[in-house]
């Protein structure tokens, strides 16, 4: 009876429920190892399922053995029987299970193969954003971008990963496992997306003050739509026409760090802004790209992203910053 009352007490404990409810925050379709859209992540999820099922089974079997051992009448268990149990369940069994798991998991760790005609996407980790360069096979040259990765569905894509300052890690949980980005070294990650949609990737290696604010959008497109987008994007940036915002962009020296395709600005210090208007987020996956957010980011980047390298522009009035934001929103 006392035990039942204790259980009811635990169930009424608000802290227990609040802690469990916090876990619900992890449920989403954009950034989750459980909501997969790539072949490699599917494999990882299957393995996680097998491991979790195995772990639950082992716990259940151990609990049953403990109950049996505790409830056994005096003299029913022999020392020799116990030693045999330890030998089989403590040494031989685990060694066999681990060998089987190793044999099952190792082939999955082999890198996927990619052909010379497959799309190469080079991604550089920077504090605290992503420099992207699409390098399709054939003519047309590369397309530079930032903070957003677009890939075609059903085709192998080779990510060439490196970093410019410190070690970062490239992780699109629904697509594939994480891969370190190490300065001076290129790591290759071959992936294949299985369904179109909008997803999210993050930096998975602590890289400085705004590590937790370093994310990016992943957009998986149908093959023909992707090809059309790539062709269109390699042309000049539309919307880069004369306006108050464009004049301010020029006067404030924004082009000293940022590039806008089709204009004289081709600096590579900060993120490429050529197609800023079509991005879903601002500041590497952290804010909705509203005019107010963009204007606030220009005037004080460190307020949104501590440690960001971009200087603040407090001398701009809110109106002026909004004019630049309007210009940026028009770049497509």
């Amino acid at each position: 009876m006392r035990r039942e009352r204790g259980d009811a007490g635990a169930m009424r404990n608000p802290w227990l429920w609040m802690t469990i409810l916090l876990g619900l925050g992890a449920c989403n379709a954009e950034q989750s190892t459980l909501h997969v859209f790539g072949a490699e992540a599917r494999e990882v999820r299957r393995m996680a399922g097998i491991l979790a099922t195995g772990a639950i089974l082992i716990v259940a079997i151990m609990a049953a053995l403990y109950v049996r051992a505790v409830r056994a009448p005096e003299g029913a268990l022999s020392h020799q029987g116990g030693m045999r149990l330890v030998l089989w369940l403590g040494a031989i069994g685990p060694a066999l299970i681990l060998t089987a798991l190793l044999l099952y998991a190792l082939p999955a760790m082999r890198p996927r193969t990619a052909g010379p005609d497959d799309l190469v996407v080079r991604v550089d980790g920077e504090q605290f954003w992503w420099r992207i360069a699409y390098r399709p096979a054939g003519a047309g040259g590369e397309l530079r971008s930032a903070n957003e990765v677009r890939i075609p569905v059903g085709r192998p894509v080779v990510f060439e990963l490196t970093a410019q300052d410190v070690i970062h890690s490239f992780w699109i949980p629904g697509l594939a496992g994480k891969m370190d980005m190490i300065p001076g070294r290129i790591n290759r990650l071959v992936v294949r997306a299985e369904k179109p949609g909008r997803f999210r990737g993050v930096c998975a290696e602590f890289c400085g003050l705004s590590h937790a604010l370093m994310a990016f959008d992943v957009i998986v497109m149908e093959g023909p739509a992707f090809d059309a987008w790539l062709d269109r994007s390699r042309g000049g940036s539309k919307g880069a026409r004369a306006s108050m915002g464009a004049a301010l962009f020029d006067a404030q020296g924004c082009g000293g760090c940022h590039a806008v395709r089709g204009t004289p600005y081709d600096a590579t210090i900060g993120p490429d802004l050529s197609r800023f208007g079509e991005r879903r987020t601002l500041g590497a996956g952290i804010l909705p790209p509203t005019l107010d957010n963009i204007a606030a980011f220009i005037r004080a980047p460190q307020a949104a992203k501590p440690g960001a390298r971009m200087p603040a522009y407090p001398q701009l009035s809110v109106g002026q910053a909004r004019a630049i934001a309007l210009y940026l929103k028009g770049l497509q």
Partner: protein, 125 residues
């Protein structure tokens, strides 16, 4: 038959034979790393099936299994149950035999777990 019994009865378990299985494990561990490093540095890639390495692994496993077998034969000597902690000849021998047997088991699994990644992973990263 009697010849064979004589052959292994001549073998003894000592403090020296105790370290044979872990020493083979250590040697094989070194071989695995050298194999991977030399293949990647000199050939630039892994063989699809590293025959020589697999032969080396089979040899290491055989030697460990052999020393485990010798220890097992010696450990079956009739007597008291463990712990074999008396300061006399028979307990010393039983202790060494049991320890060698356990170390051989551990080393066998250790060699196997070190070798499998070398055989299965074929990239030089």
């Amino acid at each position: 038959m009697s010849e064979r019994r004589k052959w292994h009865e001549g073998l003894r378990v000592t403090l020296w034979t105790l370290i044979v299985p872990p020493a083979i494990w250590a040697g094989h561990f070194l071989l695995s790393y050298l194999w991977a490093a030399i293949s990647c540095a000199k050939a630039g890639r892994f063989a699809t099936f590293p025959t020589l390495f697999v032969i080396g692994t089979a040899l290491a496993l055989t030697l460990i299994a052999l020393s485990g077998w010798v220890a097992w034969v010696k450990a079956r000597m009739p007597g008291d149950p463990p712990p074999h902690e008396e300061s006399n000849e028979i307990d010393r021998l039983r202790f060494l035999a049991k320890s060698t047997l356990l170390l051989a088991g551990l080393s066998f699994v250790g060699v196997l777990f070190t070798a499998l990644p070398v055989v299965f992973l074929r990239d030089c990263l």
